[in-house]
Symmetry: C2
Subunit: 196 residues, 2 copies
């Protein structure tokens, strides 16, 4: 590859890594597979990143930003609180149906990071960010509709994330899209009923 700044190569490698992860799984995403996907020489890897862990940190941050942006966008627009909640859930669900492997990577990366001392902090921050984002969404929803929540927000936020996470995981493992979506909507209506 002709002369390209190391900064640009960093981005190219992060994107290539994500493609490999989505296609082959995190465990098979080796430095060799990444540089092959990015069409670079193996040696290029280590003057762009000090180590593989450093690349993974960038990958996690990239996916994080992408996910949070998607989530915030999904709950935009008006309607009753229940409408907005249901609409957000359906947009999310559509994304899962269309990109199941992308979501699988999220879980794999989380677990991989937690087992790696160099990445454990990043993994914990990932979840904290998700919780903060959902909390923010729920605050926006209640403010926009003038309602309050009958349960503490930290509890509601964890409840909603867990349902979304858990149902996604079930769907990825078992594949019954219909029952899973029905369960998701059941939970969304439950949460909507907790606003008063």
């Amino acid at each position: 590859m002709a002369r390209v700044s190391a900064d640009v190569r960093r981005d190219l490698l992060v994107e290539a890594a994500i493609r490999v992860m989505v296609r082959d799984g995190v465990a098979r995403t080796t430095t060799r597979a990444i540089v092959a996907e990015a069409d670079m020489a193996l040696g290029a890897f280590h003057y762009c990143f000090r180590s593989k862990a450093e690349l993974l940190e960038s990958v996690i941050e990239e996916i994080q930003a992408h996910t949070v942006d998607l989530a915030l966008a999904a709950f935009e627009e008006g309607g009753t609180l229940e409408d907005r909640l249901l609409r957000g859930i359906r947009i999310y669900w559509q994304h899962v149906l269309e990109n199941p492997d992308e979501h699988r990577v999220t879980y794999e990366l989380g677990q991989f990071a937690l087992r790696n001392p160099e990445l454990a902090d990043v993994a914990r921050k990932q979840y904290e960010l998700y919780i903060a984002s959902i909390t923010q969404i729920m605050e926006t929803l209640s403010a926009a509709t003038g309602l309050g929540w009958t349960e503490p927000l930290p509890v509601l936020a964890r409840y909603l994330i867990s349902v979304i996470d858990g149902l996604t995981l079930i769907y990825l493992n078992e594949g019954d899209a219909e029952s899973t979506l029905a369960a998701l909507e059941l939970a969304a209506r439950h949460v909507a009923g907790l606003a008063a």
Copy 2:
């Protein structure tokens, strides 16, 4: 090690593998680490199991049986439907608090298995078994209290599993035991309210 039948060695290796997984994670559970934990020679591995995948299959089945037994036991004994549901949830939660790494292994194994062609079937069956077990528990609960469910059982079963799975995952990643248990009880009471 003195002369021991290959069958006994199989069991010893499965148990050793589980200990290593709980301690070090699935990714670091190599054949070498397993035989070391079981205090056997490396060569012993391959006249007990044809391959590492064959051992992993046994590990998954062992953990499966153990988990289902625990779940069924947790929902025994009498009381109202809500009492029994809450009691079962709390017994489960106690187990998570006391054995977090054991639960982490469940998720890791599931994902590892799904990415491995030789184990993908086993992984799918694992989830089907969990769904069937929860379905059975919910049928027992409604029969014992003379109530029916206002939502289809396949939906309720997936909902309950997802909340349990999702909240466990959040707790393992983030560690707020209090909010997580509160969210778990919120879901349990919601489910109890769906019986009529």
